[in-house]
Symmetry: C2
Subunit: 343 residues, 2 copies
Amino acid sequence: MIKKVSIALSMIATLSISATAGGLMEQAKNAGLKPIPQDSLELAKLIDNPKNRVTAKKVELGKKLYFEPRLSKSGLISCNTCHNLATGGVDGVGPATGHMWTANPHHLNSPTVYNAVFFDKQFWDGRSPDLEDQAQGPIQAAPEMAATKEHVEAVVNSIPEYVKEFQDAYENPKMKPTFKDVADVIAVFERTLVTPSRYDDYLNGKEDALTKEEKEGLKVFIDKGCASCHNGIALGGSMKPFPVTGKYKYANVGDFKGDKSGMVKTPTLRNILETRPYYHNGAVWDIKEAIKIMGETQLGTKISDDEANKIATFFGALTGKKPDVSYPMLPASNNNTPKPNLK
Amino acid sequence: MIKKVSIALSMIATLSISATAGGLMEQAKNAGLKPIPQDSLELAKLIDNPKNRVTAKKVELGKKLYFEPRLSKSGLISCNTCHNLATGGVDGVGPATGHMWTANPHHLNSPTVYNAVFFDKQFWDGRSPDLEDQAQGPIQAAPEMAATKEHVEAVVNSIPEYVKEFQDAYENPKMKPTFKDVADVIAVFERTLVTPSRYDDYLNGKEDALTKEEKEGLKVFIDKGCASCHNGIALGGSMKPFPVTGKYKYANVGDFKGDKSGMVKTPTLRNILETRPYYHNGAVWDIKEAIKIMGETQLGTKISDDEANKIATFFGALTGKKPDVSYPMLPASNNNTPKPNLK
């Protein structure tokens, strides 16, 4: 099926080879590539969750808790430790490494938090439907933040400033924030972490937003069939067939098997040049090597050095503008705050 | 000597008990307490280093490198990991814990980076004369960032954006930044991390900047002799006699012995309510307990619950306004950048 799509796209590409650049824009849209909306109201609707509305107060509180190491058992690890907003929303190491320096037992690499709001599913095996649900996972995972729900609730409720911020954000003066509330506001903050780039300007109709070379790369990207998985706003984020075992460099995944059908979440390509190493196990460091392996294993096609170079050049246009984040000053602990436990 | 000073101060205190608050202000100055200058030019001179001038470009570059985990061997630990600007400039755990989850072998607690520019010496044993020298230590220390000079230089020189920022900051288009240069710009950023508070407004002459209760606490603080060590702008930062072994809770310091004369650096009291746990080994979590133990062991005097409460109330006025720090977006790694090594 993927090969058929790829072949079909190649035919379209051949037909449109001398077409105007407008033709490429059309081709990109037909391949399922979508821009981040320019219109702020449209974007606001897109990132919102009717069950957990995005409000300014929740964003501000969620930002604090995103950077809050005291949510972890050790007091040393925050969401930002592995999904570092300074470095493309990732940690830059192979397997995610958390509490007591423990590597992810499935050798899984930390995916970026930027633009995760656009993913169909969360986690590499897609087990989580949205960011609210996802945010509950790493806080509790033994090799990540290793906290219990009770620990998180005790920390937050021990600090009057946090309690008041929750009460203000939810307009409930009697609120005692729960673990779910903590995850919910973190998710609201994460919903705002979108990174529009020149690529979006292009898809939104600005013909000269991409260089000639980037357009060539985009064309190769589509023609080779990459967009059969890397599509939508995130250029990824949906579940696709993926060989989790085999002879390839990314075979070292412990007992990770994807979802029930063996499907694995396609990573976003936005900011991909900032999020080395690549694949769900972080086994490949060179973007061109990563592109070529994907051609071979996923598309059954050889991607030449020249083509990989062109695609990588296009990827440069996916490096987006990050939201301005003022580093939060967190309220102080006190005698009621649980002490960190480094063991 | 300390006791004599303490007694002398007590006498002054007794004499001035019904004096005007202006009397307390005078008493504070006589006890060696100094405000952060209000005048920005005066402050700029005070935090500058003639051998490593503070400039806007160096501050901005130094900020990035302060938050740069790739300087560490693992790629996971930055200066900000242990001296977290979000949490009073500290990590909030007992002994500092770094590379491979290793605790400081001397059980030493991470001191705050805020206002460290005002310290006479750096490190608990005062072995470092200034922040430029200090910043070289933790990057290389095995239980902290565990990097070699060569690693740091290879990382920074592999990333063209960093090289260009150094060249711009030093107005040297051929500059290849060295390990010392990296430490120097980090130190420049740290020099700007000062936190003026209402206490400074008071010492600068604003009579109503402190509440009645805070003034009472300041008076007890001086009368008890606390300012014999906790003085100067930092209310600390100089080397003083300190029992590093003995029957007290803070005896657990491994083989730490202070400097050659057994002196230990007095920690700053600025933002002290944000920097639990206390002492060089982080053994005491309750500020009132910490105050009372200091009275007993350092001043040879009993500090009552009521007096400790008053001093702690005064400490609230030492919580200062932190500089606004926009979280830096760090330039991407590439194929020339050394890979992280988590072992």
